[in-house]
Symmetry: C2
């Protein structure tokens, strides 16, 4: 199998269907195929060889998908750059895997000089945009226009397709090597679990550099449906685009879903075409789901649980777990059941499966598990120990096989000899009617070793004291799990993947200690 196969199939079966829509620009599969095979040959002409890494620093667009397909068609490996990163972080990721060609769109042109100065090898820059191409850069459109089409290199199977740098929640970024088989099998298994909608039109609103949106693009390519892009998530843009393009499905992180349904103009748009919402990266809050069920009747909610190292899907939870009954029995909080083709175990520190209901580490085996971390044999061996991907996620599995993610293993707080999983405390805190969001961390404590500490964002116009938050928690969880202290902030620091950067929250407390900041 190879990741250009879906494009080949669409070229054969439905060449005149619309493949991409971006800001009013539409292209058929035939046009897309022509552009991809010309861009691939243009890349070969400027030096790309099989297995070379090619970077992309850009917001979402039709050209982002053309970049992916052209690199694969021409035999290369994509390196999608995290657009929230600073120049040193970007340079680190380019240098780490020796990326010598970098696509950059208009939004990031101001960074190119600094990137080129700092990088080990000055990368060849390709300008992705409609305006004039800056001096010293090649033009994306000119590269297509001036190149002959080439035959697909048909790289696939265990060949590397992507190097994805993982977000910074657990230390220095590592380049996750995803093979064609990894990404393709994850897409097909997810389709087998939840078959594609007929005449599906998918909106890509989450950032395409991220593994979840990348997987959505690949899944839609395999299924042969239409792709609609907006540069980045904006609730109004999402609503307008759904209405205008008759979008049937999209993938969001819960924080985006919340912004969407809270938007004052929500009711003004005809989003009757909208049938399916997949969310990932974090569980959904009860209040958000409750509101979403009212505002989006008939929409199927799907939760995908996964990570970059598993390309990405591990488990899915379908519409059957997003009803009023699911809220009552708590199953909406589940990450779902392992999808077909992915083996999942919850194990203790010695790798033994723990009894159902007990918390352990989630480990995963399947065709979707990464080849490894680029140039990091030791960390690869550790992560893939015994042939299983060790996710670092703490979870329990219930009697019916539903996974409930409790926390990152590393986020676990040890207080007075007891293990406290931050996720559980956060659920308790956010259940308070005045709380909009919350992150729980461990902070140093002479008495307890670590003390449970909550960082809280209040809903606009509402107020509550730290004492009241703690008292509220005592009604829901054991005393030792309740926060010992509460801070109020206006916003939590969020990573490019929509996850709370707990490292940043912990840093000030731990700066004089040896552990706790990972």
């Amino acid at each position: 199998m190879y990741l250009t196969q879906g494009l080949h199939r669409s070229l054969q079966l439905n060449p005149d269907w619309i493949a991409t829509t971006f800001r009013g620009r539409q292209r058929t599969f035939r046009q897309t195929g022509d552009r991809v095979s010309c861009l691939a040959s243009g890349l070969r002409a400027v030096g790309m060889e099989d297995n070379d890494r090619i970077g992309m620093l850009a917001l979402n667009s039709d050209r982002y998908m053309e970049f992916m397909l052209a690199v694969w068609w021409g035999g290369g490996v994509i390196n999608p750059v995290n657009v929230r990163w600073s120049v040193p972080e970007i340079v680190y990721s380019l240098d780490d895997c020796d990326t010598r060609i970098l696509f950059v769109d208009d939004n990031f042109l101001t960074m190119t000089e600094a990137i080129c100065t700092m990088a080990k090898y000055r990368p060849l820059l390709i300008h992705v945009g409609d305006g004039p191409t800056p001096e010293g850069m090649l033009s994306f459109e000119k590269l297509i226009a001036e190149s002959e089409s080439m035959k697909d290199r048909y790289r696939g199977g265990d060949d590397i397709a992507a190097i994805m740098y993982t977000g910074g929640t657990t230390g220095q970024p590592k380049g996750v090597m995803q093979s064609h088989l990894n990404l393709w099998s994850s897409a097909v298994m997810a389709l087998a679990e939840h078959p594609p909608l007929a005449n599906s039109i998918v909106l890509h609103a989450a950032p395409m550099f991220h593994t979840a949106c990348m997987a959505r693009v690949i899944g839609q390519l395999v299924a042969g449906g239409r792709h609609v892009f907006i540069p980045m998530f904006d609730p109004l843009d999402v609503l307008q685009t759904i209405e205008r393009e008759r979008v049937s499905e999209t993938l969001l992180v819960p924080i985006m879903l919340q912004a969407l349904i809270m938007h004052p103009a929500f009711a003004q748009y005809d989003i009757s075409s909208f049938k399916r919402l997949t969310y990932g990266a974090a569980p959904i809050a009860e209040s958000v789901l409750q509101r979403a069920l009212v505002l989006l009747p008939g929409v199927e909610f799907m939760h995908g649980y996964g990570m970059t190292e598993t390309s990405p899907v591990i488990a899915r939870s379908g519409p059957e777990n997003h009803s009023a009954a699911s809220i009552a029995n708590g199953r909406f909080r589940s990450a779902g059941r392992p999808i077909q083709g992915v083996a999942v175990l919850v194990v203790d520190g010695e790798g033994r499966e723990v009894p159902r209901g007990e918390v352990g580490e989630v480990i995963v085996r399947g065709a979707n598990v990464m080849l490894g971390y680029w140039n990091r044999p030791e960390e690869t061996a550790q992560a893939l120990c015994g042939g299983w991907m060790h996710t670092g996620d703490g979870a329990y599995m219930d009697a019916d096989g539903y996974l409930f993610i409790v926390d990152r293993i590393k986020d676990m707080i040890v207080t007075g000899g007891e293990n406290v999983y931050c996720g559980e405390v956060e659920s308790a805190v956010t259940a308070h009617p005045a709380v909009a969001a919350c992150a729980v961390i461990g902070i140093p404590s002479e008495q307890w070793g670590e003390a449970v500490h909550a960082v809280v964002v209040l809903k606009p116009g509402l107020e509550v004291s730290g004492e009241e938050v703690i008292a509220h928690c005592r009604q829901h969880i054991a005393g030792y799990k309740c926060p010992k202290s509460v801070d109020f902030v206006t916003a939590l620091p969020i990573s490019g993947a929509g996850k709370v950067l707990k490292r940043d929250l912990r840093a000030p407390y731990w700066k004089d200690h040896k552990h706790g900041v990972s």
Copy 2:
């Protein structure tokens, strides 16, 4: 990925669901898992090592599936023996791939002495049955009862899972090596194309040694549903079993479907649970489909086109092509469109794609394409030339990407310099109301090189002359395509896979000629 993964998943999610039903005997997934892991360790104890070939000569049963899973669990390779073969053919297939352990059920005990005498190495025999175990054989049940369970060997990916000997329609049988990836990906891609029914109960009535039924078993294992077995196809047994076990789907070849709906007791059974019928190996006759649409209202008809070398699915045609309208526009005759993940081209003798509507050879690429033929590097290189499986099937693809199989390339008749595809002639002949079945072959002709010859089976109680058949054909197809001669027989010789053995029909005509019998 590995073929025991579906069993592991069912053991984790639904251990107490019924996994298998055979002649009133039911076993849960937990029981099946226990038996499989014990049988695997029993096989290791009697000498099976990783990659060893293990044969099975038996009719369908729950134990057949346990054999498959246990061999894979223990690290071996299954060699399912064609039950219609003679002793010399069986011995050939066992010797060819060095199969030293052979399971045999009660139906084939009379053959074991001859097999053991003729085989290069006397195989270790394991008796599959409920009665007393014959002397000199091990007992399937005792091997389970007296063995401790073992851990899965987790062989998968490119490891060989099965060696399937192809039917004899094209010369000496060859051992097709199917990997875990081949069989698993074919199953998952078919599920992605046509998702499993909820609470699916599949009846395995077609012979399990055949790649189509084998694939149905694997697909149901991946999906985690229930398996019902009957020893072999019998229309009355099928009807009774559907009623008794509330079967929701089955796979048949068209000749079986015909026998089913023509059965005098058809209307006496409550088959309201029956929702989906997949057929393969041959296209469906218009008259059979018409009758089936009336007698099985609400049943989804699916046509799967494939071959052992593609593990097996290449294309599928769903319910949308099995309606009255599909009969009118002829699309019911299509083999369907290439499934997700399988690349299909129709090419000329030089490997160039032919224009839509023109006949060429079907070539296939994908994760489902076999590793090769066992110990036959030259035939493997030829079949997989350029990375594509050359099917030997003649077909055209219409503008919408639907494949229409015309004939085996080798069945093509060259008469008076014109190419005639037997399938087309057979369609014309069987359209005659008195014709039940027909096979068209080329026979030697001084005048034409080859002459088109039809072998016809009439419907009971109906009569027609050869001249009338030919005159009927002239109304439907070009004169040079019409039979020059017609023979009437009571039945056509059928292979174990339900295909007409044209080689046998051709043999008497060509015995004094050098070509034509392949």
